[in-house]
Amino acid sequence: MKVKNFIITFISAIALLLSTSTISLAKVVGDKIVLGAAVSLTGKYSSNGVHTQNGYNIAVERINSMGGVKVDGKSYKFEIIYYDDESNSGRAAQLAERLIKQDGVQYMLGPYSSGLTKAMAPVTEKYQVPMVEANGASRSLFTKGYKYLFAVLAPANLYLDVAIDTAVEKNGGKPVRIAMAFEQDAFSQDVRLGIVEAAKRTGSKIIIDDKLPKELNDMAATLSKVKATKPDVLVVSGHTKGALTAIRQISEMKVDVPMLAMTHCDAAKLSKQHGKASEYALCASQWHKSLSYRDNYFGGGMEYAADFKKMFDYDPPYQSAESSAALLVFKDAFERANSFDTKKVRDALAATEMQTFYGNIKFAPGGQNISKPMVLFQVICNDDGSKCENKVVAPLKWASAELVHPIPKWSDR
C-alpha cells in the first residue's frame, strides 16, 4: 500500500504548505502602503497591459521620490503587488480574490479593459476593498451600485457620441447615416451603445451594425458593405488590433467615408505605424498631452509625456496617463482620510475633487469621473506625409487644429 502512503504524505504536505504560507502581508508594512493590481502582461491585451503597468510605475516612482504619502504625520511609500491576468477575465476575478484574501491587500488598482474590470469589481465590492481603476470604461460598471469602485475615466458610451454630434452639425443639422463595426467585448460594445443613443437623439440611421469576433483580423467584408452603402460616418472600435486592421484595410480598399471615428489610435501608435494612410482618422481619447491641466507631481501633460518618454522610450498613450492619475487619486485620498481604514479611505475617495495633469477628477455616486470631458483628436500629416501627429479638434477649448471634414476622397489624396 505504498501508493496510498504516497497520497497521504502528499496530502499532508499540501496541508503543511498551505498552513505555513498563510503569512499574509498586511495592508501597510512598515512605511509601505501595499496596493494590489492585476495587469495583462500576456495575452491579447498585453500591449495595453504594459501601458497600464508603466503608467502605475511612473506615478509610484514620482510620488515616492517626492516625499511619499503623509498619513498621520508619517510618510509612507507606495508599493504595488502585480499579477499577470493573462488578458482573461476569469483569471482576473481569481487574482482579485487572491490579492485580497491571500496577500491581504486592502487597496486595489484596476486591470486593463472593461471586461476584466467587470470581472474584478464584484470581488472587490464583496470584500469592501476600494479599487481605483483607470481602464474600465464600460457604463455597466457604474450602474451596478458599486460603492468601492472609482474610475478616473469617463464612461465608454461618451467616447464617440461627440463624433456623431459633430457629423450631424457638419451635415447642416440633418441626421446622418452611420456604419458601425465593433469588437465583441465589453468595452467596444459599450461604445456602440453610446453611438446607438447618439443616433437616436439626432434621428440618425444606423445602416451597418457589425460585431467583429475577438480573434478576427480581417474586416474586408464590413468595409465592402461600407463601400456599397456609402454612410456619412464610419465608427470602428476594437482595441489596438481593431484600429490597425481598420486603417490598413480602409486605405487598401480605398473606402471613402466623410468621417472615420475610432478608439485606441494612440495606443496602437497609429500615426507611426500607418503614416499617411491613417490621416484624418478621428480618435476618441481620455487624455492628450496638449491639454492644459496641471498638478504638483508631473506638472502638465507635456512634462508628463517627456518624463514618460525618457523612462520607457515611447510616447505615453492615454492608457498610461489615466493609470498614473489613479495613483495620484489614491495618494490624495489617503492624505485626506488621514487613516488606513478602508471605509474612511473609501469615503475620502468618494469626496475626491482635484486636478491632475490628466484632468479634473470628481466621482459620481456610481463611481465614474464626471468632471473630465473626452477629447477627440485627428491624425494630421504634413504635406509629404513624413510626419503625422495627433491634433486635438474637440472640445474647442483645447483644439489645436480645425477638424478636416469631409475626409478627402482617396483619389484626391
Partner: protein, 350 residues
C-alpha cells in the same frame, strides 16, 4: 483496507475542515475541487474509453450559462438583466436567491446531459483524431455563438446574481460555495469509483482496447459511449454552474467556453496524474493547481514559459502520468502479481 479507510477519512476531514483551517485559501480550494471534477470527468472519455475529447468545455460553458440564466429568469426578465446599458439593477431576495440557485444548479447538470445525449450519436461515431478535432470545433463554435446571442449578454458577458444582502457575511457565501464544490467533487469521485467497478467500467475499457472486438462480442458500444458522455456532461455542467457563482461574472470565450485554458487544462491534469486511473486525475489536478498558482506568484509574466516547459516535459517524459509511473515501479502495490521467476527471467531488450 485499514490504510484505505485512513486515506478516505483523512481526505474527507481535510475537505470538511479546510474551510476553517485555511480561510484565506477557501476559494483556491474550491477552485481545486472544480478542477478535480473536470479532470475526473475528462478521464471517463480520454482515459477509460480512449476517446480524446476537447469538447467537454462545451458542457462547462452551457452549465454556467444555464445556472445563472435560470436563476435570473425565474424572477426577472433576462433580457433586461443582460441589457448592455445595465440601467436597471435587480436584487434577489433571500428565498428567491436560493430557489433560483437550486433550480439553476439542477438544470445546469441536466441540460448539458441532454445535449450530450442528443449530439452523442452523431459525434461519438467519429474516432481517433477526427473525434478530437470535431469536439474542439464544437467548443469553439459554442463560444462564438454565445458571444453573439444578446439575451445572454453576447460579448458583454453576464453578471451572476450576487449573494443576497442581509443573509450572513461574505464568509458564509464563500463557505457555501466551498462546501458545494467539495460535495460535487466527493460525489463525482464516489460515483465514478462505483461506475468503474461495474460492467459499465469494463465496457468502457473494452472500447478503449478494441472497439471493433467489443462490438463483435455483442456489446452496443454506442450506447455505452453516449451514456459515458452524458455522465461526464452532467458533472461538468454542475461544475460550470458552481464556477459561474465562484467567478461572479460570465464571459463567453474566456470564462464559459474557455477552450485554450480550462479545455486544455483538464486534459493536462488527467495526463499528468495518469489517465485511465481513478486516482490519477485527482492527483494530477492537485499538483497542476499548486504548480500553476505558485508560478503565478514567483514568475510574473513568465508563468506561461514555465507552463509550456512543464507540458512538454510531462508529455515527453511522463506520458503515463504519475500514477502510471508509480504503477510501473511498484506493480505489486496495484495488486498486480508478478511471478518472481518471471521477473528474474526478464532481460532488457534493446
Amino acid at each position: 483496507m485499514n490504510r484505505n479507510t485512513l486515506l478516505y477519512a483523512s481526505l474527507l476531514i481535510f475537505g470538511l475542515v479546510g474551510a476553517f483551517v485555511f480561510p484565506a485559501y477557501k476559494l483556491q480550494l474550491s477552485f481545486l475541487y472544480i478542477l478535480i471534477v473536470l479532470a475526473m470527468t475528462w478521464d471517463v472519455q480520454g482515459g477509460q474509453m480512449g476517446y480524446n475529447t476537447f469538447g467537454n468545455i462545451l458542457f462547462f460553458g452551457v452549465g454556467m450559462y444555464v445556472a445563472s440564466s435560470v436563476q435570473i429568469a425565474m424572477f426577472f426578465s433576462l433580457s433586461e438583466w443582460t441589457d448592455a446599458g445595465g440601467e436597471k439593477t435587480f436584487v434577489h431576495t433571500v428565498p428567491q436567491f436560493f430557489q433560483g440557485f437550486a433550480f439553476g444548479i439542477l438544470l445546469s447538470g441536466i441540460i448539458p446531459m441532454l445535449i450530450a445525449g442528443i449530439i452523442g450519436y452523431g459525434i461519438l461515431g467519429l474516432r481517433g483524431h477526427y473525434f478530437a478535432i470535431c469536439t474542439l470545433a464544437l467548443g469553439i463554435a459554442a463560444g462564438e455563438i454565445a458571444g453573439g446571442v444578446e439575451i445572454i449578454g453576447a460579448g458583454q458577458g453576464m453578471t451572476v446574481p450576487v449573494w443576497p444582502k442581509g443573509f450572513g457575511s461574505n464568509e458564509l457565501s464563500s463557505q457555501f460555495l466551498y462546501y458545494l464544490s467539495f460535495a460535487l467533487a466527493v460525489i463525482t469521485f464516489t460515483f465514478l469509483k462505483w461506475a468503474y467497478s461495474t460492467r459499465f467500467g469494463l465496457v468502457l475499457n473494452a472500447i478503449r482496447d478494441n472497439e471493433d472486438k467489443a462490438e463483435a462480442m455483442g456489446i452496443y458500444t454506442m450506447r455505452y459511449k453516449i451514456i459515458g458522455w452524458m455522465v461526464s456532461a452532467f458533472f461538468v455542467g454542475l461544475a460550470g454552474g458552481i464556477m459561474g457563482h465562484i467567478n461572479g461574472y460570465i464571459e463567453p470565450t474566456e470564462i464559459a467556453f474557455a477552450g485554450p485554458t480550462f479545455g486544455v487544462f483538464m486534459v493536462l491534469m488527467a495526463i499528468l496524474g495518469g489517465k485511465g486511473t481513478l486516482w490519477g486525475p485527482l492527483v494530477g489536478a492537485t499538483i497542476f493547481h499548486i504548480f500553476k498558482e505558485s508560478f503565478w506568484t514567483f514568475f510574473l509574466g513568465w508563468q506561461y514559459v514555465a507552463l509550456g516547459v512543464l507540458i512538454v516535459v510531462i508529455v515527453v517524459y511522463f506520458p503515463e502520468g504519475i500514477m502510471g509511473w508509480l504503477r510501473e515501479k511498484y506493480p505489486e502495490r496495484f495488486g498486480e502479481v508478478i511471478d518472481e521467476a518471471d521477473r528474474k527471467a526478464q532481460v532488457t531488450l534493446k
